[in-house]
């Protein structure tokens, strides 16, 4: 596989007359932590849904892990993990049952499932709640569970859509530690967030405004390029025409 994990070229999605994603072009190198920034409604989630094969692009091309997202969607899915913005696991199952289910769906052996479950739960401090129904858990713990499911099968590329929304600072740090560990192992991580300070944690970021990519590069380079002191300021500058 080449050094490029994600590649998008003029990727576009229209809903009727409304263009949610407007000809975005970018690529993400293997092992990179790539921040996908933008305001609510800027098109981040739509873009991710196209890259994960959940939504068909209106025009343009993209490949993930070397496979075309439109033509070889099912092949793409073998190599990706996904954590959606809205909690999408089963509330009437326990943490362990949710993880086991997805372990099985990703064809992990029983032994792998139990080993990795134990490891992930320990890392995220969920061990004591493993057999509680998800319905009873607070938001932060649910996010941890969703992140576990995304990383469980050690995919090549992981898409995280606002993983840190609504969690406390300690949990946020735990998440980013996990993200770095995954990246160190060679996993490519594309993460969206509207916490702009998290941009500093990424190797490179893109900023989407109104469906387009308004800026793309390493945080330090962008700040220099636009003469701003923080990504926050940069964003405000870009978002307000």
């Amino acid at each position: 596989m080449s050094g490029v994990a994600i590649e998008a070229h003029e990727l576009t999605r229209r809903f009727g007359a409304f263009t949610a994603v407007d000809r975005i072009t970018f690529d993400v190198r293997a092992g990179e932590v790539f921040g996908f920034l933008g305001a609510n409604g800027a098109g981040k989630t739509t873009a991710i849904r196209m890259l994960t094969g959940l939504l068909r692009p209106t025009s343009g091309r993209a490949t993930v892990a070397g496979h075309d997202v439109a033509a070889a969607t099912e092949l793409v899915k073998r190599h990706i993990g996904y954590m959606s913005q809205r909690f999408s696991l089963y509330e009437d199952l326990t943490i362990r049952e949710n993880i086991t289910l997805y372990g099985g769906i990703y064809d992990l052996s029983d032994r792998d499932i139990s080993e990795r479950t134990a490891r992930l739960l320990a890392r995220l401090g969920l061990g004591h709640a493993a057999d509680r129904f998800v319905r009873t858990l607070p938001l932060g713990w649910r996010q941890k569970l969703a992140l576990s499911v995304a990383l469980l099968h050690e995919p090549r590329v992981v898409f995280l859509d606002e993983p840190t929304s609504g969690v406390d600072p300690i949990t946020r740090r735990q998440f980013w530690e996990l993200i770095y560990e995954a990246a160190a192992r060679g996993t490519t991580v594309l993460v969206t967030t509207h916490y702009l300070d998290e941009a500093e944690y990424c190797d490179r970021v893109s900023i989407m405004v109104g469906g387009r990519i308004a800026a793309l590069g390493a945080p330090g380079d962008l700040k220099r390029q636009f003469h701003t002191r923080s990504i926050d300021d940069l964003f405000v500058q870009l978002a307000r025409p």
Binding site: S88, L89, D92, T100, Y102, I105, V149
Partner: protein, 371 residues
């Protein structure tokens, strides 16, 4: 594949933990079966009858007594007034009135023939025909009695002797006809409702998305969704049959293995229909509506309650694509008539084709991607 088992196990957990639905799946069908099997009958007993006997002779009283003692009729009132009789019919107090003219006995003696008038409330359509045939039987038997009591008359030899035999259900017990049918109806209803809600619910909750992002194939997905309910349906059927046997004494003349094999095929068709509906709609509410409509049509046009032979021809043709119709036919043939595989081959083949078709439709219709 292993994926199917993992997902199916999760489905089982969902069902088992949903106490309300579980009750509906296990308890409600059996309770309904017990209660309703007694309801679904066209059997005529104790038909309320109003008598106007203007003769009041020994012979006419004899006739009235025969009616009253038959068990099919119950005399609810008597008078000399035809108006009162008519009133009873209008009010619904009587279903039949029996009017005997004042010269009944004397006519029989002189002319060896006498008329009586039966007015039957035919609101009920062919139930009236049944009532009439019972009445005719009583009348004919009484006439024969009177005939035999007369002094010896030159008898004409060689009258055709007609004997009657009612096959498969000599006691004319309606429950033998209905219980298999009701059981099928219940199992179908519950199973299809559950599967119809299933995918729609995951759409509403948002959990479908996480599944769509995995490499699980559509075939595996549908199979996993169906498996637990398929097993559940067969279990329901088995329990229902035991209940039917123990409580209602329904016959089991044919091979139970054949019945369950047919049920296995049938359930695939029924559940796949539910899943297909579920892939078409967005909300559980819509799923319910559509399922309700289809189930209604299936049940009422399946020959379950009213015979297919009685349907208008174009409707009878349409019922050929109704899987319930075919399975009910198989169930009745196997249980009540003791039919073997050869006799039920045709409906079984249709069920297999339908099941395969429905399954393909459900798998095709389910899309892991929004276009």
């Amino acid at each position: 594949m292993r994926r199917i088992l993992f997902l199916a196990r999760a489905e089982v957990l969902h069902v088992v933990r949903d106490r309300a639905t579980l009750g509906q799946v296990l308890v409600v069908p059996i309770v309904q079966l017990l209660v309703l099997a007694n309801a679904a009958t066209f059997q005529i007993r104790d038909t309320p009858t109003y008598v106007v006997d203007l003769d009041r002779s020994r012979v006419s009283r004899g006739l009235v007594n025969r009616f009253a003692a038959s068990g099919f009729f119950r005399v609810i009132g008597e008078s000399a007034s035809a108006d009162l009789a008519n009133d009873a019919l209008l009010r619904g107090d009587a279903t039949m009135t029996l009017a005997i003219p004042h010269d009944f006995e004397s006519s029989l003696v002189r002319l060896r023939s006498a008329p009586i008038l039966l007015s039957v409330n035919a609101e009920k359509g062919s139930a009236a025909g049944i009532v009439q045939s019972y009445a005719a039987r009583i009348v004919t038997a009484y006439a024969a009695e009177l005939d035999a009591a007369r002094p010896a008359v030159r008898r004409e030899p060689a009258q055709v002797d007609v004997r009657i035999s009612s096959w498969y259900n000599p006691t004319l017990d309606y429950r033998h006809y209905m219980v298999p049918g009701i059981l099928v109806a219940l199992v179908t209803l519950i199973g299809t409702l559950l599967t119809a809600q299933n995918i729609a619910r995951e759409k509403e909750l948002g959990t479908l998305e996480q599944l769509n992002v995995t490499p699980i194939t559509r075939g595996q997905f549908i199979a996993a969704k169906m498996l637990p309910f398929w097993v559940l349906g067969l279990v329901d059927l088995a329990v229902g049959l035991v209940v039917g046997r123990v409580v209602f004494g329904i016959p089991m003349r044919g091979s139970l293995a054949l019945l369950f094999a047919s049920a296995a095929v049938y359930l695939i068709a029924a559940l796949a229909t539910g899943l297909w509906i579920s892939t078409l709609v967005e909300t559980q509410q819509q799923a319910m509506f559509v399922t309700f409509f289809i189930m209604n049509v299936y049940l009422l046009m399946s020959g379950l309650f009213t015979p297919i032979d009685s349907m208008a021809p174009w409707v009878a043709v349409v019922s050929q694509i109704n899987p319930v119709r075919h399975f009910v036919a198989v169930a009745r043939a196997v249980l009540v008539k003791g039919a073997g595989p050869a006799a039920v081959a045709r409906p079984l083949a249709i069920l297999a084709v339908f099941g395969a078709g429905m399954l393909t439709l459900a798998i095709r219709q389910y899309s892991k991607r929004t276009t």
